[in-house]
């Protein structure tokens, strides 16, 4: 008869082997492959030469031999544009969701369930379909322009589609549920008596918000921001549908390198940069969490 200890080891082995194989081979290995590819030389007709090659990063960050590879500031510009776009998306969703989360938190439990359901419902609907709707709204002959024209507010159609504005609107729209849920978790758990105590002690509404409510709900604000920021940085679907040439983001650049330019090493280098940004944000977030966990 096997002793309880060896039985336990056997079960543990059985439970963990599938996940180890799956994530080891099809997750960690591909990530490693990207990093390796980013330091290899692109082949002439697609493919790759097994030779150490640092110009992929040179093209991006400003060192290049000027012969085979040329430093193009545009890549760096697109990277920075993508970062600022992601940050803009975070701020926009935050400002949009915060008041609504507060409003829902003050409803009766029954209505809370209804409105939370309404917020999550679009999440279950196809992403492409939702973006397509915005294409219909924002295009020159679309709903927005015809409404504004009809009301006489503008005299000629606004050029919103295929601009960065369109990308920010679309991105904020698809990211709302991701911001909303962590925010609501924090705001919903906020002890109402804290706000009452603050106004009882003489603080006005604005003071109460900045001195009590915002600090108390900070975990939700930060959690939601991280959850929205990460998929926003490398997103290529939203810029692809709504952004056009003016709204090109780093995600589109990666996609081009793989599916049209066929420069896989350069595309890998761009991906490594996205990965680095995301890991950096996660690292800051996790250390913050750990520090807070220790403090409390």
């Amino acid at each position: 008869m096997a002793t309880p200890h060896t039985r336990e080891r056997l079960f543990l082995f059985g439970l963990l082997t599938p996940v180890t194989l799956l994530l080891g081979i099809f997750f960690l290995l591909p990530l490693a492959v990207i990093v390796i590819y980013s330091w290899l030389m692109p082949g002439l007709y697609g493919g790759v030469e097994w030779e150490f090659y640092h110009w992929n990063y040179g093209r991006l960050f400003g060192w290049a031999d000027g012969v085979m590879e040329i430093y193009e500031p545009i890549y760096l510009k697109i990277l920075l544009r993508s970062l600022s776009l992601a940050i803009l998306t975070v701020l926009l969703t935050l400002v949009l969701c915060y008041p609504v989360a507060f409003w829902i938190s003050r409803l009766s439990p029954r209505w809370q369930v209804v409105f939370l359901f309404l917020i999550t419902l679009p999440f279950f609907t196809s992403l492409v379909v939702r973006l397509y709707a915005w294409l219909l709204i924002l295009k020159p002959s679309g709903v927005l322009n015809s409404t504004l024209l009809g009301m006489g507010l503008i005299s000629e159609p606004l050029e919103i589609l295929f601009t960065r504005t369109a990308v920010v609107i679309g991105m904020a729209y698809v990211m709302i549920p991701f911001m909303f849920m962590p925010l609501f978790a924090s705001i919903g758990n906020l002890d109402r008596s804290l706000l009452e105590a603050s106004s009882d002690l003489g603080a006005g509404r604005v003071q109460t918000f900045f001195k009590v409510m915002l600090p108390q709900t900070m975990p939700g604000v930060i959690g939601g921001s991280v959850i929205v920021f990460i998929p926003s940085v490398g997103n290529f679907v939203v810029p692809d549908v709504l952004g056009g040439a003016k709204g090109l983001m780093i995600g589109n650049l990666v996609e081009q390198q793989f599916l049209s330019a066929r420069n896989w090493p350069f595309g890998s280098a761009l991906s490594v940069v996205i990965m680095a940004v995301v890991l950096g944000v996660m690292l800051i977030y996790v250390t913050r969490l750990v520090r807070e966990g220790r403090a409390s």
Partner: protein, 361 residues
């Protein structure tokens, strides 16, 4: 009496989060007789739960032997041991009806549906829950769930029933009722019970034998009366019941009589066998119920002044500051006697055989 369970030299060491180690069981020997109600009593962290979990098989001993009816069960997985447990949280399966919960051990043993139904019905009847079999656990009150947990643990007639603080979630009145019922159930079933609690009153009410544990070791083991009257150590004396403690030096030992002196010079007479000799330090225990409040002019006893009187229905608690100084003493007396007020000068008397020397540690 034949022993059903024998524990020999049980040791179990845990790692602490800080990297140290702590011995939850540090050489425990324990015998449980057929049809005996044994209570493991002690503060949290004393090892009582670890001992119980080792018997049920949820913890493995690092060393030591575990014998059930003379057979070594130490390496046997929990599901093979003919021992059942009533859990503190009851651990009822919320996805099954009460009846299926109770019949669970029969079901996994492969008993027929009919047999399951009959035996589960009997067990439910035994705990006073006939007719609730088709309900879900969530539809029952706390006390009823407790009974279901009990029925589930006895339905297969284990050799030994382990109870891990099963009454701690109930309110006081219900707990007292269950204590009596548990005791009755135990004699009806004729199964040995090992009961874990940190509630000394519970231990005194139900047990044939109390095992007081501390720091992974057995501090004292005996009948409730012995534990209460003759605590071996200061720890046991303080853990069970209220206590007045006196740090003394032995003044003289003569026959069965001992004279001890407190630091303040109060004389305490004792009447018991002892190995102590003149000049030894000794801690003396007198229970609050063994002190009597007398008028101030009575001859021998502790003189003092009442500082507080607390009325507790049937009992009165007097706090008395000894005239010679030292710690306040507690006296418990019946309310039907004469009432005294704070500030009254009194003398506290006692019978020498009710004073008792305990070991210091």
């Amino acid at each position: 009496m034949t022993q059903i369970l024998e524990v020999r030299g049980a040791r179990r060491v845990f790692k602490t989060p800080e990297g140290g180690t702590v011995a939850a069981l540090d050489g425990v020997d324990l015998d449980v007789g057929q049809n005996e109600f044994v209570t493991l009593l002690g503060p949290s962290g004393c090892g009582k739960t670890t001992l119980l979990r080792s018997i049920s098989g949820f913890e493995q001993l690092d060393s030591g032997a575990l014998m059930l009816e003379g057979k070594d069960i130490g390496r046997m997985p929990a599901f093979r041991r003919p021992v059942n447990t009533v859990f503190q949280s009851y651990a009822l399966f919320s996805h099954m009806t009460v009846e299926r919960n109770v019949a669970y051990s029969l079901e996994v043993a492969g008993a027929s549906k009919q047999e399951q139904k009959i035996l589960a019905g009997e067990a439910l009847e035994m705990v006073g829950l006939s007719g609730t079999g088709s309900r879900m656990p969530s539809q029952l009150s706390g006390g009823q769930r407790q009974r279901v947990a009990l029925a589930r643990a006895i339905v297969a007639r284990p050799k030994l029933l382990l109870l891990d603080e099963p009454l701690s979630a109930l309110d006081r009145r219900l707990r007292q009722k269950m204590q009596i019922e548990l005791k009755a159930l135990q004699s009806e079933l004729g199964i040995a019970f090992v009961f874990v609690t940190h509630d000394q009153e519970e231990a005194l009410t139900m047990s044939d034998r109390i095992v007081v544990m501390r720091g992974g070791q057995i501090e004292q083991c005996g009948a409730p009366r012995d534990i209460f009257r003759k605590p071996r150590t200061k720890f046991v004396a303080e853990f069970i019941g209220d206590t007045n403690l006196f740090e003394t030096t032995i003044e003289c030992v003569h026959g069965g009589r001992i004279l001890a002196l407190t630091r303040e010079g109060t004389k305490i007479w004792l009447s018991e066998e002892t190995k102590l000799a003149k000049g030894d330090a000794a801690t003396v225990v007198i229970r609050p119920t063994d002190l009597q409040v007398q008028d101030a002019h009575s001859s021998c006893g502790f003189r003092g002044k009442i500082t507080r009187v607390i009325y507790l229905g049937t009992d009165l608690h007097y706090y008395v500051q000894p005239a010679v100084g030292g710690q306040e003493l507690l006296v418990v007396s019946r309310t039907d006697g004469s009432r005294r007020a704070p500030g009254d000068e009194v003398t506290l008397t006692y019978r020498p055989e009710r004073a008792h020397v305990v070991e210091d540690c």
